[in-house]
Amino acid sequence: MRRLPWFIKHRPRTVEEVIDQEEAKREIRAWLEGWLKGKPPAARGLLLYGPPGVGKTSLVEAFARELDLELLELNASDRRRREDLERVVAIAATRRPLRKRLMIILMDEVDGIDPRTDEGGIEVLSRLLESALNPIIMTANDPWKDSLRSIRNKCKLVPFKELTEAQIAALLQRICEREGISCDEKALRLIASRNRGDARAAVNDLQALAENGKVSPEAVERLLDWREKSMNIWRTLGELFYAEEAWRAKRAVTQSEEDYETLLAWINDNIPKKYKDPEDLYRAYDALARATQMLRRAKATGEWGFLRYMFDLMGPGVALAKKGEVSKEKFSFPERIRAMTESKSMREQREELAALIAKRIKSSRARVKAEVLPYLFVIFREGSLEAAAGLSLGYSLSEEMITYLAGKRAEQVVSTAQKLRGGKGERRAERGKGLDGFLR
């Protein structure tokens, strides 16, 4: 006989049994009651989001049972192409309830809808959200995915909290009692801590251990791998900018899979995307600027404990800067990184040129960049071609350097230089050799 996975066998049957998530329960209940009164609420869809294994799907199932509603579930294992969705969902969702019985359409893991293989699926869903006559509930781990934007704007978003170790340990304890197995309390806590916040994964691990023999701390150590729970950058940003509580914002930056230098760059670019009120903008940047100062202090002193404050400032400091609305503009890739990559060769030309001239006029590169190059730009871009060409020859500038200085006029400057050079009587003999004298 096939053994039933414990996480299904011991799934919560009632709303009450779902661990914690009190706020989400309140919101979902109020929303469903709105439907039951016969009038669809303003938002016809809910998007439940939060880490895996915290009870999103279970809670919807429990509500359907408790409120006696029909439930149509579609999850990632079903095909969700346009046609499939149109057939199954559209009909059900626009059907007028015959016996006053509503049908919850539960779309599990919508962040898993692949825009390529599940062609058009999102569009159908998005249209559905405008006209649905039945409640539509979706779940996602990462609601900030780009692909979900059109859906996100039409839904009410309901956050789910990560479960605490104590809550998960208590759940494991209850399951052990029901299954009649004896368990080491320390082992349960270990399983709970190894599955930070994810009840489903913890229950799976418990089952695996129990079926292999004794559930002891050693066995836990041996069998369980550390489950990486790090957040990708998009989720980090979503969690951070929408966080209302300090802990959530702090978790976003400390559990990101990106290192803090990268994170600083991403946050730096995305503050103006999400905060439009200058008050919010200023508070956020002030916090971020302080964060980089803390980072500097950590590096300068070798006291890495200062990083704690850096995280406080770049996470909660930025998140709680908002008093106004968070803009719906999407997150973007850091422009600075792109600009630096694109301008790499240009910057190299500039540095080489500055070094060359600094040596000749006996000044520093920094001073040349600030006080001499601006005039060279004027000469090369606005001045006479002869003057620019003469300087190109005088300093044996490479073609790349001339391009850097002259921009669109580079070709003209080069050809003028060729003429100047070739025009001189004593150099005529060398003409055949070309221009390698100055075009190295």
Binding site: A289, Q293, I357, S364, P374, I379
Partner: protein
């Protein structure tokens, strides 16, 4: 028109002390050292473009002749900030053999007021250690940034901003040699703009000459072109609440023009106190206060773009308050 051309600041740089037309007092004292064929450690201080570096080279030239560069190590504290680099180079140079006809070698340390006080302390030990074989010439804009123990080891020479006669005289000399046509008032205008900085005056003059006859208008045109418009635009975008546009301008300044965070901060500061910028008077002080704070953080080594972004956000906020 000759074929190859140089920057006039290089081409018309005085090579010997006698060619130096200004800083007469300084030059006379230095000529005495040349006569005695001995110099103490020297500290040249004064505003930019007043001839400090030029005079140091001319002095070495007069002491050692055309090949003076063989006996001189030139370091620039702006580009070689680490005292370790300086220490290693100085050590290596001081230990190398001194040519028999030369009594000592010279270490020229330009922009030495850009050294941290720790680095200056280390330099002080170097000066003591190698004083037998090596003389140091320190060059600085602000002598107050040079620690006392270094100052007390050096003979102090103050360079003053050039007079109008010096600047105009030099420019007309160059004009004659280069065949540049100009109107007299244009040279006055260049002097005003240069604030007695000869390097700047000559650069402006050369750029203006490349546009044709040098007129007051062409001089101002050059100055306008050479000053990145982005600084003013950046400030105005920020004040009008367009933060992202302001930040794009900031990136252009730093990435394309290669300005350092400190350059940007200085330019913003200058603009903030310019009467062209129409903001409530008391805001100039509020901005300066914040500029000072982020400037300090950048000197400490914090991320420059993020610090400057915070400054732009502050400008946006002040702009919003002023509109209310």
């Amino acid at each position: 028109m000759s074929e190859a051309e140089l920057l006039w600041v290089e081409k018309y740089r005085p090579r010997t002390l006698s060619e130096v037309v200004n800083q007469k007092e300084v030059v006379e004292r230095l000529k005495l050292f040349v006569k005695e064929r001995n110099i103490p450690h020297l500290l040249f201080a004064g505003p930019p473009g007043t001839g400090k570096t030029t005079v140091a080279h001319a002095l070495a030239h007069d002491l050692y002749g055309e090949d003076y560069a063989m006996h001189m190590l030139e370091l620039n504290a702006s580009d070689e900030r680490g005292i370790d680099t300086i220490r290693n180079k100085v050590k290596e140079f001081a230990r190398s053999r001194t040519a028999p006809h030369v009594p000592f070698k010279i270490v020229l340390l330009d922009e030495s007021d850009n050294m941290t006080s720790d680095a200056q302390q280390a330099l002080r030990r170097l000066m003591e250690l190698y004083t037998g074989s090596t003389r140091f010439i320190l060059i600085a804009n602000y002598p107050s940034k040079i620690i006392d123990p270094l100052q007390s080891r050096c003979a102090f020479f103050r360079f003053v901003a050039l007079s109008k006669e010096d600047v105009v005289g030099r420019l007309s000399y160059i004009a004659e040699r280069e065949g540049v046509r100009y109107e007299e008032e244009a040279l006055d205008a260049i002097y005003e703009i240069s604030e007695g900085d000869m390097r700047k005056a000559i650069n402006v003059f050369q750029a203006a000459a490349s546009l044709g006859r040098v007129t007051v208008d062409s001089v101002y045109r050059v100055v306008g072109l050479a000053k990145p418009r982005e600084v003013r635009e950046m400030i105005e975008s920020a004040l009008s609440g367009n933060f992202e546009e302001a930040r794009n301008a900031l990136r252009k300044l730093m990435i394309e023009y290669g300005l350092s965070g400190e350059d940007v901060v200085k330019q913003i500061h200058r603009e903030v106190f310019s009467s062209d910028l129409k903001i409530p008077e008391e805001q100039r002080v509020l901005i300066a206060d914040y500029i000072g704070e982020i400037h300090f953080r950048m000197v400490e080594g914090s991320d420059e773009e993020i610090q400057l972004s915070a400054l732009l956000a502050w400008l946006s906020l002040l702009g919003k308050r002023a509109r209310r």
